[in-house]
Amino acid sequence: MSESIFHGVRMVGVAAAVPDHLRTLADDAKMFGDEEVFKISESTGVKQRYTSSTLCTSDLCYAAATKLLSETGYAPETIDALIFISQGPDYILPATSCILQERLGLSQNCAAFDINLGCSGYVYGLWMVSSLIASGAVKRALLLVGDTSRHCSPEDRSVSLLFGDAGAATLLEKSDDDLPLNFVVGTDGSGANHLIIEAGHCRMPLKPENQIRVECEGGNKRSKADLYMNGAEIFAFTLRVVPPLIKKVLAGANQSIETVDAFVFHQANKFMLEHLGKRMKLPPEKLILALENVGNTSSASIPMAMVTHLRNRLQKESLNLVLAGFGVGFSWAGANMHCGPMVIPELIKVPVPSIPE
């Protein structure tokens, strides 16, 4: 795992947005039955999530970024870089970040690029932005992350009850304070096939036959163009990687479980997070669980948890946080940083447009 330390970078604010269309367990019970849905929800910790078949990740990120810029009072033309991290770009090309540069009214001097990562994406993005700011390449950057759940087969309960749609915006800038930001990042591509959408790109172009949903393990139905997740492999991966990752982040930053105010991990599912917490002996009150109302929102889950569970504190005080993202790739990243006081708007709900005729 690669370690790095940056100085002189400050988080100015965080915002998160969801579609205003709610999906509840009662909706899911129509497909899978009450008993099954209850059992799964007990394990995942997800009781509802926001979804839409029309809003793209970029629409949610746009709403979050617009609100954040307006509440911080920062003019769009003062942003030097925009990074969009998602697995749901608007198009194969051009990069969604270019579209968002124009839409947000950012300067033509602004650097903009996309990164294709999921669960680890937010912390990877912070690492990238911190590196750009600390090097002097940019002074102020917008990090936009998120995904939608539209690649989940509605007949596959291993994914369709878990994921929700969300986009988040984080504003970072050069700062005179000298607090360090510590990062540890890593990759194990041998796990690529355990969380994958096989069809729809270059390796397996979309064809009618790979869009047919067929019965798979446990009666779940999905096509090659739907999201596949091997929960057991992902769980085994996190048990192998996350405890040493957190240990390394703490050691590199000369911190301990006692000195950290909160551990904000990618909100994979409740069972996994509670097990990891127990295994690492984290005090339950310091381990943020934020899936209940929004589900697993991929790269947006960490900023989402900051908005829904740490907003009051982060608006007023500086918190010593350990962040960690891990999953699809396999890819992981952990960080220790002091965040706040900062601007955090309430969770934004974006109206869902109807499908044009």
Binding site: A232, A236, L239, R279
Partner: protein, 76 residues
């Protein structure tokens, strides 16, 4: 953890009656679903400090096969 305690753990997360398992049961006849698989991995990690490979769990056909995966770590 001994063999009986291991069976008790399986019974607990598959929501079976206490003392139901003897080792001969086929997993197809039990509520051995993806949540049970993940619970098994968590149990082995927490109580036996054992990293069970999901692929080996996928090949297991019976409670005896599950037992064989952890046998080295169980007390007599």
């Amino acid at each position: 953890m001994n063999k009986q305690e291991f069976f008790a753990q399986l019974e607990e997360f598959m929501e079976l009656d206490e003392g139901r398992l003897t080792g001969v049961e086929a997993l197809d006849d039990l509520p051995w679903d993806s949540l049970a698989v993940v619970s098994f991995i968590a149990m082995a990690d927490e109580h036996l400090e054992l990293a069970v490979k999901p692929a080996s769990l996928a090949e297991a056909k019976s409670v005896a096969d599950l037992l064989a995966l952890v046998a080295d770590k169980l007390d007599n």
